[in-house]
Symmetry: C2
Subunit: 219 residues, 2 copies
């Protein structure tokens, strides 16, 4: 019975996600997913610093409670909407559609969605995005891709963040990358220290290619 209900919710979400994708139109939509504290907001801040002059960018911030992340992003002077799920452990396509109503979608080249901090549930719920981005920090351990495979299977790019902290952990970068590649041979794996900006150039380049492909596809 539980499974049946879950399938209903997932089906309803898929239908709304398809409508969202239409609604997003020419805007490239990237959905950042990872554990609490893996560095999603910091990656977003650095990305906005680097790309704000090049693209028109908007952000949807997903959190269970508080507007702490949206407040950080607001300082970048770009349109941002905070969604609070009030207990919910992931964004849904419905919540995302409502948040997008408050953004000037037609004027945006790129919309970043920062999902609720959770390595599990957000991977199950399409929001109508062009790509899910998996963020894993080295301090979480190299066993996480094998233990939480869905996100890494679904992702179009994987960021291994907090690379600078690796010497203080037992994280084996080669082992993690091996496991990720076994789950998903297509997604680039990007080593990064978002706090210092190290390694971010490859991520920016990946975004530029996606944005160009999106323009191409929609013209």
């Amino acid at each position: 019975m539980k499974i049946h209900m879950e399938q209903e919710i997932l089906q309803e979400n898929e239908d709304q996600a398809r409508m969202n994708h239409e609604m997003f139109g020419n805007t490239l939509v990237l959905n950042l997913i990872g554990s609490p504290g893996c560095g999603k907001t910091t990656i977003l801040e650095k990305t906005l610093d680097a790309l704000a002059g090049e693209f028109r960018i908007g952000v949807i911030e997903g959190d269970i409670y508080t507007a702490k992340d949206a407040e950080r992003i607001e300082k970048k002077n770009i349109p941002v909407v905070q969604c609070n799920t009030a207990g919910g452990c992931h964004l849904s396509a419905g919540i995302t559609a409502k948040a997008a109503e408050d953004l000037p979608l037609a004027d945006l080249d790129i919309l970043f969605i920062e999902n609720v901090g959770n390595l599990v549930c957000p991977a199950e719920f399409d929001l109508g995005e062009d790509a899910k981005i998996a963020v894993l920090s080295t301090v979480e351990g190299d066993d996480k891709p094998a233990k939480y495979p869905l996100l890494f299977q679904e992702a179009k790019a994987v960021i291994l963040n907090k690379w600078d902290l690796m010497p203080y952990t037992n994280f084996d970068g080669d082992s993690a990358e091996h496991d990720i590649s076994a789950l998903n041979g297509d997604a680039p794996i990007i080593r990064m220290t978002a706090a210092s900006g190290e390694g971010i150039e490859r991520w920016l380049e990946w975004i530029r290619v996606q944005a160009a492909a999106k323009r191409e596809q929609d013209s």
Copy 2:
């Protein structure tokens, strides 16, 4: 409609949790909850090393996939059962009851349950345990108690792990403890570096007090 279904699932879980609590009898049951990579398994390993001569201990390992954690615990030569939720983001009382059938409950003083790595959903699902233990690592950031309050409200003890990594982060220990105390004035907050064993003594002492109280209560 969604909320209604969720309430049904939660109610069903509460009923089973009450039955589990009966079934656990004299055994003290501690449910460890925290993000992927916050250090739950390492805390458990160190705790088993310290307490295995003093108490008869069993472990239920919850994971979405793999038996990596159970394999680590098995090396300690204590009874351990691995539960795989196959996609599910938390243990339920039903899954826990089935796992407990494979343990010699009547012969255990303490049963540790390591929940699926997730700061959100496991806090909503009682398993019939005596106490939920919240584990937060410093590398996750000091804003997490305010952003994910439920677990910190429900916990009977809070471990701030990876204390040794704090100098490499912007984690403010006082701010985190202030936010936790505002959510929950009763739970002790235990600073720990499980990997080295630093700070673990206060945690062991807390367990001893709980185990004594449980024996008292059941006799």
